[in-house]
């Protein structure tokens, strides 16, 4: 029997190979993860619901199939967990809220049914910012998710539990959602990989919406290769989601393992200012590494990005209120104060502002595509600052000036929810204070392959991040 720590140390790619070769058993691996959750989750509060019985049953079934030579693919027997706004049939799906505390869906979200059909083992449902409407994962109903690198700091959000579980080795892969940055922000602040694929690449059926036209579903993982492997399973058109794309789904792992010769990288000028010293230094080092790998790195300007935070805020306020309107009329007191305030803000958005914001998206995407005409990917920091302390609303920024925490983070991620482009958050190292820092790689619509190729090459050159001392 493999040692428990050895099993937990493996990324999906390595674990999958061992499971397929029958060197490890899905039952043993699942027990190791359940033991880890039992030991650690009281500190990190990453889980809302642990589905131990479901996991044991699925692991046993996976073991039987693999032993019998019926290997379903790379996710077979791999323990995963889902942000708790992904519907799971017969299993409570709270949305991180009090309002849905007892909601038990009668069907699965497509993203989960695809993972389940691929043989993944469900460990449980992960904590989040209430209804995915916020970036701290400070949840008044289910507990505050903690950053594994420093439990006094936020993990980011809204998929905070999804990132904390990965870095805390409480799941091999997780699923998050991203409306203004909710996959990439927690990946950045916790030190793991988060992929927001192109809008429509991953279907949204059975996922509690925040803002219909901005919501993306995607993987949070330890490595870029793992993100590609999960995307291989969850991507593709779904007849239940008319916004899911008909475009063919390539093998996203096919271009991994290459260098970056011939790749042209544009550094977005508008997202390369106002950075904390440690983020600026780490980002410059990452750019030098991209150059050393053979990429051509040059600065590019996309001035319209400056308007994208207004565009995404107006759209999110309006669409989120439409989703929550009935509950706001009858159950407003059951929301946390911050989410209720954001929903109240939506009441002040006129229809003209909403339509204008939607029209603005085309301009921003057109400008981003212009920047990509002679380049393969764009890059920027994922956040201007490392993880702030829980409850901190402003931090010292460039030159010692106080900067707003939310704006210091959302400004970097929300533009690519507005444009719908694929965007990958990859750690660039730790700050002198031991906090994770991150870069995002942005591509042309539906060109996740190149984004993942660049992220993978960079990640291999960067080397292993020191694990948190939890």
């Amino acid at each position: 029997m493999a040692h428990e720590n050895d099993m937990l140390a493996l990324d999906v790619a390595a674990l999958s190979a061992r499971l397929r070769a029958k060197e490890m058993s899905p039952v043993e691996v699942t027990e190791a993860y359940l033991g880890r959750i039992d030991a650690l989750d009281s500190k990190l509060r990453a889980y809302i619901t642990v589905t131990a019985d479901v996991a044991r049953s699925a692991a046993k079934a996976a073991e039987g199939e693999i032993q019998a030579g019926r290997w379903r693919g790379p996710m077979h027997g791999v323990p995963v967990a889902l942000k708790d706004l992904v519907y799971t049939r017969g299993i409570r799906t709270t949305g991180g809220s009090k309002i849905l505390a007892d909601f038990v869906p009668t069907h699965d979200a497509t993203v989960w049914s695809r993972l389940a059909n691929a043989g993944a083992v469900l460990l449980g449902k992960l904590n989040l910012h209430e209804f995915a409407y916020g970036i701290t994962s400070t949840n008044p109903h289910w507990g505050t998710v903690r950053n594994p690198y420093d439990p006094e700091r936020i993990p980011g959000g809204s998929s905070g539990g999804s990132a904390a579980a990965i870095v805390g080795r409480m799941a091999a892969a997780t699923i998050g959602t991203d409306t203004g940055g909710s996959i990439r922000i927690p990946a950045a602040l916790c030190g793991c990989v988060g992929l927001k694929a192109t809008y429509g690449r991953v279907n949204r059926y059975g996922v509690v919406p925040l803002a219909y036209t901005l919501d993306h579903v995607g993987p949070i993982t330890r490595t870029v290769r793992d993100a590609a492997m999960v995307l291989n399973v969850i991507a593709g058109q779904d007849p239940n989601d008319s916004t899911s794309s008909e475009k063919p789904v390539p093998d996203f792992t096919a271009a991994l393992g290459k260098d970056l010769k011939g790749i042209r990288v544009g550094v977005i000028r508008e997202l390369n200012d106002g950075l904390s010293d440690e983020v600026a230094k780490s980002f410059q080092t990452a750019l030098a590494q991209l150059s050393a790998l053979g990429a051509t790195v040059e600065t590019v300007s996309i001035p319209s990005l400056a308007a994208s935070s207004i565009v995404t805020a107006v759209i999110t306020w309006a669409e989120a209120l439409e989703v929550h309107e009935q509950w706001m009329r009858t159950r407003a007191h059951e929301y946390g104060a911050d989410v209720r305030r954001l929903l109240e803000m939506g009441m002040a958005v006129p229809a003209t502002s909403y339509v204008r914001a939607q029209r603005g998206r085309a301009r921003i995407l057109a400008d981003a595509l212009g920047a990509l005409e002679s380049r393969d990917v764009l890059v920027a920091p994922t956040s201007a600052i490392p993880a702030p302390k829980i409850g901190e609303s402003s931090v010292l920024g460039e030159g010692g000036a106080g900067v707003d925490v939310v704006q210091s983070i959302l400004r970097f991620t929300s533009p690519f929810d507005a444009t719908g482009q694929p965007a990958l958050a990859v750690p660039t190292g730790l700050s002198p204070g031991g906090l994770p820092l991150s870069m995002q790689i942005i591509g042309r619509p539906f060109d996740e392959t190149t984004v993942l190729r660049v992220g993978d090459a960079y990640e291999r050159a960067r080397g292993q991040l020191p694990a948190p001392k939890i």
Binding site: N240, M328, E344, V349, P350, Q358, R363
Partner: protein, 92 residues
């Protein structure tokens, strides 16, 4: 021809936009109550008016900042048709 395609009208739209961007606590309370049947305290209404006012002033200027002339909203008939087809399938 849209209003904003005319330079003169565009200028008046900007002026209108600036006026629209000034959101008062009374307006917020009234909208919440009349449209959403939702009661706000005076303090909440003031706070919302400040936050929403700043954002909506920015939103009202998007036409100029992003040059939205001749840009359609990305709703589109293809999306409408696809959603209708999905509904038909779920009925059968």
């Amino acid at each position: 021809v849209r209003a904003e395609d005319s330079e003169d009208v565009r200028e008046s739209e900007l002026r209108d936009g600036d006026v629209m961007g000034i959101v008062t606590a009374e307006m917020v309370k009234s909208i919440a109550s009349e449209i959403y049947d939702y009661k706000l305290t005076d303090d909440s209404a003031r706070s919302i008016a400040r936050g929403a006012g700043a954002l909506l002033t920015g939103a009202s200027r998007l036409g100029d900042v992003l040059d939205l002339r001749e840009i359609e909203p990305p709703f589109g008939f293809a999306n409408l048709e696809a959603e209708a087809a999905r509904l038909r399938r779920s009925v059968k």
